[in-house]
Each structure stands twice: as C-alpha cells, then as structure tokens.
C-alpha cells in the first residue's frame, strides 16, 4: 500500500515542473518554429529560412562560423595546457588557482568586454605601452580580430573547467602503468591522457562554440557597428525591425548548427554537459 501511495506522491510532485516546462520551455520553442515557418498572414512559407541565402545574412553566418571556430580552437589550445598544469599542482594550490581563473566571471561581462575597448583603442593602454617600447602598434579594434579576442577572453573559463574536471578524475595509476610499460611522455599523452580527457574537451568545445556562434554583444562592443554576425542580424530583426518571422527563421537555421554540435558532444559525453 505504502509503495503505491509513494508512487502517486512522486508523480504529483512532478506536476509543477511539468506545467512550468511545458509553458516556458516547450511552447516558446514551438512558437519559434511556428513564426519561423509562417508569414505575416499566418500561412506556411519557407521564405524566412531561405532568407539566410541573401548575401548579407549569408555573409554574417559564414563570418560567425569562422570566428567562433577559430575562437574555439584558440580556447582549446590555451586551456588544455593550463588545465594540465593546474591538475599537476597539489590539491590546495589547484583549487585556489581554479578559483582565480573563474573569478573574472563574477564581474559583469559587458563591462569586462567594454574594458577591452579601452585597452585596444588606437590611443589605448596597449598601444601606449607599445609606443613606449618603440614597438609597432596594434590596430585590431573594430576588426574581426578584436571579436575573436573578445570571444576567447569571455569563454576561456568554459573550456578550462570541463577539461580540468576530467583530468583530475583520471586515475594516476593508469598513467604510471603506461610509464612503467615504457611509454614516453608524448606516448602517454597521446594514448592515455588525451583519449581519457576527450569528454571534457568535447563539452568544452560546445560550451565555447555555441555562445560564440550566437553572440551579438561581443561583436557590438568590439567590432564597431560595421561587423554583423548572425546574432546581430537576429537581434536587429527582433528588437529594431520587429520582424519576428524573419528573425525566427534565421534562429531555426542557427539551431541546426547548435543541434549538430550538441549531437557530437552527446555521442561522447556520459551524463550531460555539466557532469
């Protein structure tokens, strides 16, 4: 009897979340699909999705893909050695260092990105320093390079954490065994450490790639207003032209890329992205 009543209780407990997620997760997503696939007179059309083919939108999409791929790669190349160094520190030191590397995330990210403007400007801090040392100046503000810098800067912690979390779980005995069996440093890394850390690498890649692909803030702040990413296009459709149908159509295109990167991660990741 008790079993039965407990079961009912549990089901009853799920009701609030069920209603909430239906109303605020499922239905809104369906609405994106609905708006994306209809026109102003509510009849079915593929025009909104096809508008990705227009020169401006297509250019924005390609630029977004290129910049986010490059940033993801740079993040990975920067984060992996760092995660390995952190992993080799003793326990107290490493948890302190990890804290140091995620601490910047507690300062408002718009302001932090804005601060890069001050640093990168033609007469900014970095160029003044370079001038002082009689080195050539760096003119990357309002170019795609500044956007890449902004992406790497903002999303680097998202790459460091998953990789670090996987590395600390690797059994040291496995590594020692490989060394005992005669593998050198490179072989141990290539055959043992890297394959074992792959789930962390993949979830790091999604956690950097998706926000980098879809950002409109970083390009707004560091790219001037001339460089449009696909995120900027969608944002303008919604907030400025109030063209919800076109904006939703472009979002659906964007979601294809998000889903692809999610599927790749899902395949290798055991137990969700946050594990």
């Amino acid at each position: 009897m008790r079993r039965l009543s407990e079961l009912k209780n549990k089901r009853f407990l799920a009701t609030p979340y069920f209603i909430w997620s239906a109303a605020f997760i499922i239905i809104p997503l369906c609405m994106v699909f609905y708006y994306g696939l209809t026109d102003k007179s509510n009849s079915f059309t593929l025009e909104n999705i096809m508008s990705i083919g227009s020169i401006e939108n297509f250019k924005a999409l390609i630029l977004s893909l290129a910049l986010s791929l490059v940033s993801t790669l740079i993040c990975l190349l920067l984060a992996y050695p760092l995660a390995m160094i952190l992993n080799n520190l003793n326990v107290n030191q490493s948890s302190f260092m990890v804290l140091i590397f995620i601490l910047p995330m507690w300062m408002n990210f718009l302001l932090r990105t804005l601060a890069w403007q001050t640093l990168l400007e033609k007469t900014g801090v970095i160029n003044s320093l370079l001038n002082l040392l009689h080195l050539p100046t760096l003119n990357i503000i309002n170019t795609p390079y500044a956007i890449i810098l902004g992406m790497v800067y903002n999303f680097l912690p998202f790459m460091i954490l998953p990789i670090y979390n996987v590395l600390i779980k690797i059994d040291k005995n496995v590594i020692n065994a490989a060394r005992d069996l005669g593998a050198n440093g490179f072989q141990t890394f290539g055959k043992i450490i890297f394959p074992l850390s792959l789930p962390g690498v993949l979830s790091g890649i999604t956690m950097v790639f998706v926000p980098a692909l879809t950002t409109f803030v970083i390009s707004d702040l560091l790219g001037g207003s001339k460089i449009l990413l696909i995120g900027n296009v969608i944002e303008q459709e919604f907030k400025q032209s109030s063209n919800w149908h076109a904006g939703s159509g472009l979002s659906l295109v964007l979601m294809i890329f998000i889903i692809i990167s999610m599927l790749i991660t899902e395949k290798y990741d055991d137990g969700g992205i946050m594990s």
Partner: protein, 261 residues
C-alpha cells in the same frame, strides 16, 4: 626550467583574464570622464554612484530579480528533482532531456522564444516577464545540482524512518533533506549568479523603462558610459572577493563549492 615555463604560462593567461578588470578598477578612480586619458585620482564616482537614482534602481531590480528567481527556481527545481529521481528510467530521461534544453540552447534563441511567448499572450514586458524568464533558465541549474546529491542518498534510511512511524513529509525533512542541502544551496547560489549576470535573455524579455544592471550598461554603452558604473562594478567585484574569502575560511566548504561550479 619546466616549472618556470609553466609559471610564465599561468602568468600570461592570468594577465589576459585580469587586464580588463584592472582597467575597470583604475577607470573608477579616473578624474577625467572619458576612458581615453587619465585625469588624476578621484573618489568622486563612488560618491556620485550612490546619488545616481537610475543606477541604484537598476541595482535593486537586479538583486530583487536574482533573489526571487533563485528562490522560486530552487523550490520548483528541488521538488522536481525528488520527483524525477523516483521515476522510471524512460520518464527520467524525458524530463532530464527537457531540463537540458535551456542549458544547451543558445541564449539568444531562448530569449526570442520567451519574447514570442509573451507577445502571444499579450503580456506587458517588464518585471514579471523578466522574472518568469529567469526562473525558467535557473531551474535546470538547481536540478543538476540536486540530482547527484539525491542519487547518493540511501533509500533504506528513508524507508526505515517510515517503518518507525514517521510520516513521509517528516521523514523527508529529517532524513533526506539534510543530505541534499549542499546541492540545494549550490543550486541556489548558481541560479543567483546566473540571474545577476544575465544580459541576453533579459534584453529580449524586458520592456521600455525597465532595466537591470546589464541592460542599463548596454544602453549606456551606446550613449557613453557613466564612470559611476565602473565604481559600482568595482564594489560588486570586491564584495564577491570578500564573500569567497569568508567561504574559504572553512576549507571543506570551499572545495565543495568549487566542485559544484
């Protein structure tokens, strides 16, 4: 040599991450109003900050939204976790799948989906719409913090309590709840910080005249940002530092909170 190289590497990344923060702190003491040049040291912006009604009201809105949304999300999320934990595998996968959607989806898509929903039901964009959006994207963080703790709890102790005559609710609060409390707390804190820091979703669900700190900063960026903002962000950063320092005083808790992050 190797150790030295490692230290240099850590140092370089450290500089990359902290250069903007140092810049903001320095700017908050800058007498000249433009970011471009140093006009001498002043504490004026800190005084003017507290007299700036717009920033102060944006700050209080941000805190109220964060506190309310984190509290409600923790409540709904914890109850949902208990329910999901007791479900059959098929249903559990279904619910966790739904829970993953807001976490994995791009913020801009989540943001516009809320905007479309609120337009469809004819809601007035403002406090309520932002609050509902924040609760929604916070719930997954709570569920993902509480679920692992729930899995670790021992079912037999709960059943033992029932056998000894405790009512299910009483047994829950006496036996299970203390075990999952760390997960609930870290879920709450995670939600709170996510809500504080959110810009994109707020941007799409807010109405004219309603601002959180993030959206306020975004509009100011276009018109020229007021130096009071630098002062405020410096103060906020210092309070986080202080908070972490206090938490770190008890080492066990610190390592725990770190793992949750």
């Amino acid at each position: 040599m190797k150790i030295k190289l490692q230290k240099i590497y850590i140092g370089l990344i450290f500089i990359l991450l902290y250069a903007p923060i140092v810049t903001l702190v320095v700017l908050s003491f800058n007498k000249s109003k433009t970011r471009a040049k140093w006009g001498g040291f002043t504490l004026n912006w800190y005084i003017e900050l507290f007299q700036n009604d717009q920033i102060m009201s944006a700050l209080s809105t941000t805190l109220i939204i964060a506190l309310l949304s984190a509290t409600i999300a923790t409540l709904i999320g914890t109850i949902a976790s208990i329910a999901i934990n007791g479900m059959k595998r098929k249903w559990r996968t279904f619910y966790l799948g739904i829970t993953n959607i807001p976490m994995l989806n791009a913020d801009i898509v989540t943001g516009i989906s809320f905007m479309l929903l609120f337009i469809a039901i004819g809601a007035t964009f403002g406090f309520t719409t932002v609050l509902f959006a924040h609760i929604t994207f916070n719930i997954p963080y709570v569920i993902l913090s509480v679920m692992p703790k729930l899995k670790q709890t021992n079912r037999s102790t709960f059943e033992a309590a029932l056998d000894l005559g405790a009512s299910p609710v009483y047994a829950f609060f006496k036996v299970i709840f203390p075990d999952i409390l760390p997960g609930v707390m870290s879920g709450f804190l995670l939600s709170f910080t996510m809500s504080l820091d959110d810009f994109i979703i707020t941007h799409f669900t807010k109405g004219p005249g309603f601002d959180t700190l993030s959206t306020k900063i975004y509009t100011e960026v276009k018109k020229g940002i007021k130096p009071e903002m630098y002062a405020l962000s410096t103060l906020l950063f210092l309070s986080v530092l202080l908070l972490l320092f206090l938490v770190n005083r008890s080492p066990r808790k610190a390592s725990m909170s770190l793992k949750e992050i």
